[in-house]
């Protein structure tokens, strides 16, 4: 077959205690977008990394463009024409956007870097994604979504035959995804082969030509996207009938029954990030913060958890004014927070799954009242089971887990702490379809029991499905509040748009 660009045959990869890939075959044709699908821990990222030389494969053969290849480092893979966006954004936080885009291939004259050219090239790369940003700002100052866009821009800047995208859209909103798809289609038409990993079925059907499904490190099959229904796809992924997978029904303001206001933010704001606003969170209520990228969702969450200090307004808990000077104080009030950036702010990578799960709980108990190892094992075991965390043992270092499973560990840390208010910033980022439903169900139960939630997601559909109330933000200010029946995707979009016109 002349149109085959990449052929992987019998790829196996073993980690201590885990057979991550078990004789997987994968074939990519020229000019196609090929979705790689599977549950959390199915082996998708490992397959990508075995291709780019991050991991050495134990067995198997890779043929690119008719030539057998065996890159020993991501750098070599790039030289062979393989450009990759890894699941965990691995850029350098303290360099500028421009430097990150051009790193390792800076335009030079006689060995001297031409900074003007670097800047221009970075701007062009960003413009390809229809982004106009200041490329001289430091990367760590950018939101996770923007960092993800930078990683994509960097990958697109390489002249490649093969583009590998491992969950590039996990924190992007609809507009950015659309922008990315335009570029992907253009590249496909130029004859590139693109591998695309995502847990969003809409995106798979929106852009891919073909689908390969992995389960438990094995190949399930290769299908044409147009001939595989959604239900069938999900069934193949989870290995059982998908119709048994129940979506967490939207609780019709069920939590409201619990009644009463729990937390009330009054004219809470911080100069330069969020304008003063009121937010009221009832007991057992799920309140969504919706808005576009940079609308101040994350900033508001950080204020509520005491990560950043508010310089205007105050917060009342159970009707009493409280100080939120640090996460520690917030936790003492019964708050919990999963940040959007799980790699830098969430997981403690080299500690075990067990230690990561009990961390916040132990933090609240303090240094001297250590949980016994039996209690720790019991708690860890319970949440590994409840959230379906795939790990060979509770003692596995968290950095060895797949992305989605790391996210589950983070959720477990806070659920174990039994908070009264849980602030979730992109909690389902990278989590597979089945687990998402499980988690939604679990959260539903906890709200029945009286827990309140602040829910942030770039996936509007998810916000609308889970929240009884949605606070709409734009440019760091509150521009509307929708409640009960009013909550719908159109209503949220309209609220945002209306204020765009006014502004």
């Amino acid at each position: 077959m002349a149109d085959v660009l990449l052929e992987m045959r019998g790829i196996s990869k073993r980690f201590p205690g885990v057979l991550a890939l078990d004789g997987v075959d994968f074939r990519l044709r020229r000019g196609e977008v090929h979705a790689l699908m599977g549950e959390n821990g199915a082996g998708k990222s490992t397959l990508i990394k075995a291709l780019t030389g991050v991991h050495m494969r134990d067995e198997g053969k890779v043929v690119l463009d008719g030539v057998e290849i065996d890159p020993r480092s991501p750098r070599q893979a790039e030289e062979l024409g393989i450009s990759t966006v890894y699941q965990e954004v691995n850029l350098i936080a303290h360099l500028s956007v421009a430097e990150n885009i051009c790193l390792g291939r800076e335009p030079t004259v006689f060995g001297k870097i031409r900074w003007g050219a670097v800047k221009r090239r970075a701007e062009e790369a960003m413009a390809r994604l229809d982004l106009r940003v200041d490329v001289s700002q430091e990367l760590s100052q950018c939101s996770i979504a923007l960092q993800q866009m930078v990683a994509i821009a960097r990958a697109l800047d390489i002249r490649a035959k093969l583009l590998l995208l491992d969950e590039p859209t996990s924190s992007l909103d609809a507009n950015e995804v659309a922008e990315l798809f335009v570029v992907m289609r253009k590249l496909r038409d130029q004859g590139l082969g693109i591998v695309f990993i995502t847990h969003f079925l809409d995106q798979v059907y929106g852009v891919s030509d073909r689908i390969t499904v992995l389960r438990d490190g094995r190949l399930v099959g290769e299908y044409e996207t147009s001939k595989l229904g959604r239900m069938e796809l999900v069934s193949r992924m989870i290995g059982k009938d998908a119709s048994k997978l129940e979506r967490g029904e939207k609780r019709a303001a069920g939590g409201k029954a619990a009644g009463g206001v729990f937390v009330e933010a009054k004219q809470l704001g911080r100069r330069g990030s969020v304008s003063p606003m009121d937010i009221r969170i009832g007991k057992g209520e799920v309140v969504g913060l919706a808005g576009l990228l940079g609308s101040g969702r994350t900033e508001m969450a950080r204020l509520l958890f005491g990560v950043d200090k508010a310089d205007e307004g105050y917060v009342e808990v159970d009707g009493r004014m409280v100080t939120l000077g640090s996460p520690k104080q917030a936790i003492r009030l019964g708050f919990g927070f999963t940040p959007e950036n799980r790699k830098t702010e969430g997981i403690v990578p080299h500690l075990s799954v067990r230690e990561n799960i009990i961390l916040a709980m132990q933090g609240r108990r303090g240094m001297w009242r250590a949980l016994s190892s039996r209690e720790q094992m019991e708690i860890a075991g319970r949440f590994i089971e409840a959230l379906g965390i795939k790990t060979p043992s509770p003692e596995q270092a968290v950095c060895n887990l797949s992305g989605g499973n790391q996210q589950k560990v983070l959720l477990a840390r806070w659920l174990a702490n039994e908070p009264r208010l849980l602030i979730l910033d992109e909690p389902t980022r990278g989590i597979d379809v089945g687990a998402k439903a499980e988690i939604e169900k679990l959260i539903g139960q906890l709200c029945e029991a009286g827990m309140s939630i602040v829910f942030i997601s770039s996936e509007l559909e998810e916000v609308v499905r889970t929240c009884q109330k949605v606070v709409v933000l734009r440019d760091g200010a509150k521009v509307g509040e929708l409640e009960g029946e009013q909550v719908s995707e159109e209503a949220v979009m309209q609220t945002i748009a209306r204020h765009a016109d006014e502004a």
Partner: protein, 343 residues
Amino acid sequence: MKLDYAEAGSVGRPMPDWLVKLIWPVAALGLLLAFNLAFTSLFFRLEWRDGHLYGSLIDVLNRGSPVMLLALGMTLVIATGGVDLSVGAVMAISGAVAAQMINVPGMPFGLVIAGALAVSVLAGVWNGLLVGIFKIQPIVATLILMVAGRGVAQLITGGQYTTFTDAKLVYVGNGHLFGLPFPVTIVFVMLVVTGLLTRKTALGLFVESVGDNEKATHYAGISSRAVKFMAYVFAGLCAGLAGLVAVSNIKCADSNHAGLFLELDAILAVVVGGTALTGGRFYLLGSIVGALLIQTLTTTMYMRNVSPEIAPVPKAIVIVAVCLLQSPVFRNQMRRIAKWRPA
């Protein structure tokens, strides 16, 4: 993914992490001892005199004690992602305080020890404040006391070599208990105390968590300030004990030379023992083995009449070798080379 218990089972239960980390330093120590067994036969001679054991092996334990004590405190500091350069100078301060106080007529011995340790803890508090609370780079923060500490010791002794003859203070560094030099008992007790302090409370978990990802730890409601502060205070206490042993050894407070460069040996011991300079997981036993390795090297070279000028060279070679063997990158490279050859 498939849970591959079969493979894990074939080697029995996977070895605990701390055991794995102990392999290389213990192997290096074993090799060095084997070398001595072959070439320096005197090394293994033990003698029983006046109810005490004597010999090079005992000497290693005895002379290695100050560095072992320093290494215990240094382990915690390094695990938080920091480093404490001042411990050598703090040893000098502690010794100076002890020597000065013991010469005051009627001063109870307990108060002398308490005084020396209290001053050392105070030094730790100073470092802890600078690093933990004011967020000054550990190297810079502890450099202050490293440089100024010896001056403080000079001030305490009035610029003199203060000698003493008090039997109890002399016993600290020269006495024997259970047939072994008394400092060995101090080290053993401190190892147990440190082990209990870190593993029976949550301190060990907090230290490793702060060192591994400070931001995430902060978000989990753990005060990284307090954790770092405690690590430096504890390092100060350990340095104080080491200073008492050192001053007692020579029955004289020598502000210029007591503990000189020992902070470097302590850092080396910790790194050789498997704790990474970048922070995170720490290994107390590893640090002790690391300290013993360094002392065995020193004693071996002394016995083989290696001139002190070139003595650092073999030391450097052994340490580099152990560190390389611990590096996963290096081991992978080696494995790859080993794999390639037959092809």
